[in-house]
Amino acid sequence: MIRALGWVLRRDLLLAFRRRGDVVNALVFFVIVVSLFPLGVGPEASQLRNMAPGVLWVAALLACMLSLARLFAPDHQDGTLEQMLLAGEPLVVLVMGKVLSHWLMSGLPLVLIAPLLGLQFDLPADALVVLCVSLLIGTPVLSLIGAVGAALTLGVRGSGVLVALLVLPLFVPVLIFGAGSVGATAAGTGAEAHLLLLGGFLALALVLAPWASAAALRIAME
């Protein structure tokens, strides 16, 4: 079982490496979206500082969501997903492998680059730390929930937007507490409560999401 998880992970990372750009691209997308906001809103520093947590978190959410299209759809189209269902391993395990690799490729890089972008918005140092921590706990939740959405919209045409429609509402709590934690730190009220709640979401998602995704995948193959 662990072996199967390892192979799925290995496969997806290898694929990501082959496409080289992919990991960098998710990152650059994040950077670009974050950079677009000042262009839309104007360059006043204080206003930008207030917006920063929200903008960064919304951008992370969008970056994660965009990359969901690559989670199951390519495998579905070329028939490898079918083969996974027939692999004789519990589907949940394989799904876990895929979610993990998705997070490694699209979530983790964001966590690492976020402080730099925070600097551009002139966030104070402690807020930067909380930003990183909140993203570290929050982005796996996004990947997990996103997997359910991606599985549900599999093979449905125009799924790119549909998946957004399905998962964004579910992302809302993560967004609120993620951005809230950074805002609270900047405002000096402390972020523990927010982060604890995020941790709770993570635990919940870890327990439920893989099962839901696996079930959705089976349905999609009918």
């Binding site: 082959r18 490898t80 079918e82 083969q83 027939l86 004789g88």
Partner: protein, 214 residues
């Protein structure tokens, strides 16, 4: 032993076939015949457990396959219309991962011999996307050469896109699988020349009287 009991399949408004029963034992080849659109692919997907039939049931060694899906999956290899190759991985890597997920050892020596059997060893290091249609099919089929121990092979038009040499090679492989007690289910519009001690035939055109009339 695989046993189908009064299977029925409905797609949209159409009943593709109904009341279809057969059983398949070790060493037997089942050829599913029928015109285009008669439901061969649908039947094969039902036999894999990917789709559930609208009525009837399938039994593997006497037990319904729905009950122990993973166990049943380990006993079959399915090669469908699609080749299940990742475009960005090389032929070798594709085969390796397919084998590994199927629970086989995945050392590259064995893989290469599998590819070689189907004459695509020289493409082992090419990404699948640059391969020709027939080469892709050959890589997909190379899985069969690695999994002689898996008893049930389910193949949807395995001969499509293959040139004459590859067709012969595949026929030989099927024959040896059957000879060693395996089972093969396949569909094809071409003539099969597989040496087997029993070739069964299910003709879906006969099982869809309702459809023909419509």
């Amino acid at each position: 032993m695989l046993e189908a009991r009064r299977l029925e399949c409905t797609r949209g408004d159409r009943r593709l076939f109904s009341d279809l029963s057969f059983s398949l034992n070790g060493g037997q080849l089942l050829r599913v015949a029928g015109a285009n659109g008669s439901g061969k692919t649908s039947l094969l997907r039902i036999m894999c457990g990917l789709v559930s039939p609208s009525a009837g049931e399938l039994r593997w060694q006497g037990r319904p396959i729905r009950a122990e899906r993973e166990e049943y999956s380990r006993n079959l290899v399915f090669i469908g219309h699609l080749n299940a190759l990742k475009d960005d991985l090389t032929a070798l890597e594709n085969l390796q991962i397919a084998a590994a997920l199927g629970g086989m050892p995945a050392d590259s020596g064995r893989m290469l011999s599998g590819l070689d059997r189907f004459g695509v060893a020289h493409c082992a290091e090419l990404p699948a996307k640059v391969l020709s249609q027939g080469q892709r099919r050959r890589v997909a089929l190379a899985r069969l050469a690695l999994t002689p121990a898996v008893p049930l092979w389910i193949l949807d038009e395995p001969f499509s896109a293959l040139d004459v040499g590859a067709v012969v090679e595949l026929e030989r492989l099927l024959a040896s699988h059957l000879a060693s007690g395996g089972m093969v289910v396949l569909t094809t519009h071409q003539e099969v020349q597989v040496v087997a001690h029993a070739i069964l035939r299910v003709d879906l055109d006969l099982h869809s009287a309702a459809l023909q009339a419509a």
